[in-house]
């Protein structure tokens, strides 16, 4: 990849500026006491952004280190884990959901299985006590567990 990341960013930002400007032009106010209206400010911003991104296009900085391979998968893994956490947070209940998420995250950060499992249980229990006892936050209970027994 020889194109500097800043050039790509410049193009993206230029596109964003054009998009903002186009969207702002479509704003229509039938009547208002406000002489400036809702259009002008975003339009001004898009002009500023366009100027800055042109500068960036012509004078890009150094290209940084970009993640590749396994690391990209790991990064996506973290995002996916947090999304799944949100999905199961209420249905599974705080303790099991948190223990599982901490287990997966610890693994992603390179912990061996046993340590990850222990930290999952301990962080879940510890944070549960912290949130409910010390901070008075209500957390979803695991009703399905009581329903099983």
């Amino acid at each position: 990849m020889n194109i500097a990341a800043d050039r790509i960013l410049g193009i993206v930002l230029l596109g964003l500026a054009a998009f903002v400007a186009a969207q702002a032009m479509q704003l229509h106010v039938p009547f208002s006491y406000d002489p400036l209206g809702p259009k002008a400010f975003p339009l001004g911003l898009s002009v500023l952004l366009a100027v800055f991104s042109l500068v960036l296009l012509f004078r890009p900085g150094t290209n940084g280190d970009w993640p590749r391979g396994v690391l990209v998968l790991k990064l996506l893994g973290v995002l996916l884990t947090l999304l799944v956490y949100a999905l199961v947070f209420t249905s599974l209940g705080y303790l099991p959901a948190t223990a599982l998420v901490v287990l997966v995250l610890s693994r992603l950060f390179g912990a061996p299985w046993a340590k990850a499992a222990i930290s999952g249980v301990l962080v879940a229990l510890g944070s549960y006590l912290l949130f409910t006892q010390a901070m008075g936050i209500l957390l979803p209970a695991s009703d399905w567990l009581t329903a099983l027994t």
Binding site: A5, D6, L9, V20, Q23, A24, L27, H28, V29, S32, Y33, D34, P35, L36, G37, P38, F41, P42, L45, L48, L49, F52, V55, L56, R59, G61, G64, W66, P67, V70, L71, K74, L75, V78, L79, L82, L83, Y85, A86, L87, F89, T90, T98, V101, V102, L105, S106, R107, L108, F109, G110, A111, K115, S119, V123, S127, F131, M135, G136, I137
Partner: protein, 505 residues
């Protein structure tokens, strides 16, 4: 005029607030000590939780302020012991701090840093007490046009001084302002940039934004670090734990000078601790580095940025409390927190919300003292935090951040948005952006537009109102100078040098 202080101490000395200040100091130091997590990330991660605890506004602010000042103290641990600055402000601490640690003086270095921080912060708190009410009196005279000019000035000083790349700082600020325009336009009720998504009608929520931008991107970056390098470099042994009085006295002028420099820089809107550390260090080096010991473990080279950092961190409260314009990224986050309580800081802060303003200032005095007492004897204990492995630390941070958001917005949409913002934040940081301008842009953007439109509504659309009063003209000139001077000065220097060269021939 200074009655607020008595009332403030009455607020700050209640058992709840005293306890919160202590708790904040403790948590802040611990969070700040974590490698890579600077004050702003610490505040961003912990703010939603403070909000969900249902504390009154002043208590919540006291807690956050204590965390803020605490993390400035704690941030030095990783700078001195591991040579890993927690944030941009701590870079100059590593220059002499780490060499000291390598000479076996890690303990005294930590102690000296705590004492310098204490003195710097105390100077700045005195400064707030003196100047904030005065500035508030001036600020009462500000109309919408003056506020608009002030915000232009704030953005100008930010792009001139914050971050390593002025262009990216400016782009970040514009992006932040753009994010603030999403949602219902308060002036006309028109929907802007919502694309028919009902959840966007109220705009991008502040908490979702900061957790995504700071916490999620931080987690992603830490994953990258843990992937590419082993965590926990060799930690220097602490050596003797206490700093000697002689050593502090040796640095006294460095500490006092830097404290003053730090306060002044902190007060300027948009420039925070990172600039203060740099200016104080270079000034001190120029003034007192006769033997060329700076950078090789000179105690003055450690105490100067430390004193300045903390003075600037505290000084940043001045514009936030009196003008409603945050002096740094971290105070921008705190301003947002106050807005969650429907308190908009500004000139009336000292008259209408005396308990909040006074309580905050009084708690700064108390919190700063607590921090010194905590940090001097317990430095060794806090330093242990550095040895916690990432695989244990990061999941715990993720849980803290997540529960904070989920308590406030228990819907998938908010979480989804948070993750998207997180990825954006990660990409921007990889591209060399700092996040503080973005959050400042977000917080100031809405106010900036409102004031511009209000000013033009008063004048009936005549833009002349924007540069009518002396105050606004002064601010416009100052803003223009901040933008032009960094380009002009080097050019003038070169020209003069060239002229003198040709003369000497």
């Amino acid at each position: 005029m200074w009655d607020f202080l008595a009332q403030g101490f009455a607020v700050a000395l209640t058992p709840l607030n005293l306890g919160l200040a202590f708790l904040g100091a403790l948590i802040g130091t611990l969070f700040g000590a974590l490698p890579g997590i600077g004050p702003i990330n610490g505040i961003a991660i912990l703010m939603p939780l403070a909000y969900t605890m249902g504390l009154p506004a002043e208590s919540s602010l006291i807690l956050l302020a204590a965390i803020y000042t605490g993390s400035e103290y704690g941030g030095r641990m990783s700078s001195i012991l591991l040579n890993v600055p927690g944030d941009a402000g701590a870079v100059f601490t590593t220059l002499d701090g780490n060499p000291l640690a390598k000479q076996g003086l890690a303990g005294p270095a930590l102690g000296l840093s705590a004492v310098s921080s204490f003195i710097g912060a105390t100077l700045a708190i005195l400064g707030i007490t003196l100047f904030a009410p005065l500035l508030a009196r001036v600020a009462v005279m500000f109309g919408p046009a003056e506020f608009f000019a002030l915000m232009v000035f704030a953005f100008a000083s930010m792009s001139a001084m914050m971050g390593k790349d002025p262009l990216k700082t400016a782009i970040g600020a514009v992006l932040g302002v753009l994010v603030a325009t999403i949602g219902v336009d308060s002036g006309t009720g028109v929907l802007r940039f919502t694309f028919g998504i009902p959840e966007l009608y109220d705009g991008i929520d502040f908490i979702v934004l900061i957790i995504g931008l700071f916490a999620i991107s931080e987690i992603l970056l830490m994953l990258e670090h843990s992937h590419t390098s082993d965590d926990g470099g060799a930690m220097a042994p602490l050596g003797r734990v206490m700093v000697r009085l002689k050593e502090v006295l040796f640095c006294k002028w460095a500490i006092l000078r830097s404290g003053l420099i730090g306060f002044v820089i902190g007060v300027l809107p948009g420039t925070g601790a990172s600039v203060a550390g740099a200016v104080a260090y270079t000034t001190e080096k120029r003034l007192s580095d006769q033997k060329g010991t700076f950078g090789k473990g000179d105690m003055r080279g450690l105490s100067a940025p430390e004193s300045a950092n903390n003075a600037a961190a505290v000084g940043a409260f001045v514009p936030m409390l009196t003008l409603g314009i945050p002096g740094s990224g971290t105070t921008a986050v705190m301003l947002g927190a106050l807005m969650l309580y429907n308190i908009t800081p500004g000139p009336t802060m000292f008259t209408e919300h005396t308990a909040v303003a006074g309580g905050l200032i009084a708690s700064l005095y108390l919190g700063n003292l607590m921090l010194l007492l905590l940090n001097l004897p317990l430095a060794g204990l806090f330093a242990r935090v550095l040895t916690i492995p990432r695989w244990l630390l990061v999941p715990a941070i993720a849980i803290l951040a997540f529960v904070g958001v989920f308590q406030l917005h228990s819907n998938l949409y908010a979480i989804f948005l948070m993750l998207i913002v997180g990825v954006m934040g990660y990409l921007l940081r990889k591209l060399g952006f700092s996040l503080a301008p973005i959050i400042l842009g977000y917080v100031l953007g809405g106010l900036m537009e409102q004031n511009l439109r209000r000013a033009l509504a008063i004048s009936g659309g005549d833009s002349g109102i924007l540069w009518q009063s002396g105050i606004s003209i002064g601010l416009w000139i100052a803003a223009a100078m901040l933008i032009v001077l960094p380009w002009l000065l080097p050019w003038l220097w070169r020209k003069r040098n060239a002229a003198s060269c040709s003369l000497s021939k």
